[in-house]
């Protein structure tokens, strides 16, 4: 009887643990998405040669479901986000998304024999915000640091910032966005972003 009670008690303790395990852990999520993206890029030459429509579709199906893009844009726009109308916020998110995809599409031509290595994650189980650290391993070259900030939204983890080589994306755009807004207003920022996005790529221009 004692053993039975111990067993029952143990099982009860395990139930919440199973409940937690149901939501994918943040580092497991990043590992899965990274490998999925890398495999698809390796398998598709169009993605490496800058086919924007294809990259956009891949990002929408693979990454974007796990990104809190509204939070990402709001953080980059900073205090001015509150002053923007819902329509302006929507436009800002659209243009920012294209700008980021353009950023990455330029880097994909270098994808060849890379792989992802996850670094140990330091987080307490109750944390609602974590940093997941990883590295892109490239044979014969220095590893590239690639980190993510994630936040728990309901049951799922959502990415809201990316760090490449020690540089957080949101912080890098913060001052630029603030400068545009303070000199030309929110519509001015939207216009600048959209002009940037429509400019032809300048491959190898220095």
């Amino acid at each position: 009887m004692k053993r039975f009670l111990a067993w029952l008690f143990g099982a009860l303790l395990l139930v919440p643990a199973f409940g937690v395990a149901a939501a994918e852990a943040p580092d497991a999520l990043i590992r899965r998405i990274s490998n999925e993206m890398l495999d698809k890029i390796k398998a598709d030459k169009d993605l490496r040669t800058g086919d924007f429509a294809k990259l956009s579709a891949l990002a929408d199906s693979t990454v974007m479901p796990h990104v809190d893009f509204q939070r990402m844009t709001a953080l980059a726009v900073g205090r001015n986000w509150r002053a923007a109308t819902p329509e302006q916020q929507k436009r800002l998110m659209e243009e920012f998304r294209v700008l980021l995809l353009r950023t990455y599409s330029g880097a994909l031509s270098a994808v060849k024999d890379q792989s992802i290595r996850m670094k140990p994650m330091r987080a307490a189980p109750e944390d609602a915000e974590v940093i997941v650290r990883s590295e892109v391993i490239q044979p014969g070259r220095d590893a590239l640091q690639l980190d993510y900030r994630l936040r728990k939204v309901g049951d799922a983890w959502k990415i809201y910032d990316v760090n490449v080589l020690g540089v957080w994306l949101v912080e890098t755009y913060r001052n630029q966005f603030a400068q545009e807004v303070s000199s030309k207003g929110i519509d001015g920022l939207i216009k600048s972003l959209s002009e940037k996005n429509q400019a032809p790529d300048q491959p190898n221009k220095s």
């Binding site: 205090r79 353009r102 890098t172 001052n175 630029q176 400068q179 545009e180």
Partner: protein, 256 residues
């Protein structure tokens, strides 16, 4: 001086002094920029120096780097890059020690030994192939590890993005690296010039990318540089900035 003149260290020192003088001059002018960052009190001077560097790059450095890329096959350019990276591995090992990381110092020394001998003076990076990673360190990072903040952002002539701390670090590094021990000043200058061309060649594609994604190239480079250095000081895991986090939280809440 036993090692003769060291034009590079002198150029750097001189440029810092010139910069300081220019700053004095600029400080009296009204700032034309909108959102002045506390990290960049010298923004007007920095932007001017940035334009100067840009012009110098357009006119001289980038064309030479493109020529270098056109003339030398990729394999040989890799040898040149490896050679300079290997030369830096020795001071890096010293910095690891100064930063209290004896294991990394030892591994760095081992790296340098392996590549210098088996890698034919460093042109082959055998150590990386064998899984011994390179951890590049410099005086700016050591000073940072010792608790010295970067201070104001500073654009150096020719070398570009830096900070007061990293600028001092650069001078100290150039006075003590292996190239500075070469007796012939022609060889020394030649190696420095080749190093600059090598670095610039590898940045040719990146500069095009920055043009494509930055709303303001100066701010983009500045804010990336300052973050990158802070990250390097802490080997990729800088302590979280609490104030800034709260700031962001505030903004995000307002956004919702």
């Amino acid at each position: 001086m036993s090692r003769g003149v060291r034009p590079f260290a002198r150029l750097l020192a001189a440029s810092c002094v010139t910069g300081a003088l220019l700053l004095g001059g600029c400080a009296t002018l009204p700032g034309s920029e909108t959102s002045r960052s506390p990290k960049d009190p010298f923004e007007p001077y920095n932007r001017a120096m940035d334009r100067f560097n840009q012009a110098l790059d357009d006119a001289l450095v980038a064309p030479v780097a493109r020529g270098y890329r056109a003339v030398l096959p990729a394999g040989m350019r890799a040898w040149v890059g490896n050679f300079f990276a290997n030369l830096w591995d020795l001071p890096s090992a010293g910095h690891q020690l100064l930063q209290g990381k004896p294991e990394r110092a030892f591994m760095g020394l081992f790296r340098f030994g392996v590549n210098t001998t088996l890698g034919f003076g460093g042109i082959l990076d055998i150590a990386t192939a064998a899984g011994i990673e390179r951890h590049r360190e410099d005086f700016g990072q050591t000073l940072g590890r010792w608790g010295i903040p970067p201070g104001p952002y500073l654009v150096l002539p020719l070398f570009g993005p830096s900070s007061v701390r990293d600028g001092v670090g650069l001078v100290l590094d150039f006075r003590n690296d292996l190239v500075s021990y070469i007796d012939s000043s022609e060889t020394r200058l030649g190696l420095r010039a080749l190093w600059i061309v090598d670095v610039r060649e590898r940045l040719l594609d990146a500069t095009g990318l920055v043009e494509g994604i930055a709303l303001d190239r100066y701010l983009f480079v500045r804010d990336s540089y300052l973050q990158r250095r802070q990250s390097l000081v802490w080997d990729g895991e800088p302590p979280e900035d609490e104030d800034e986090d709260e700031d962001k939280e505030d903004d995000a809440r307002n956004g919702k």
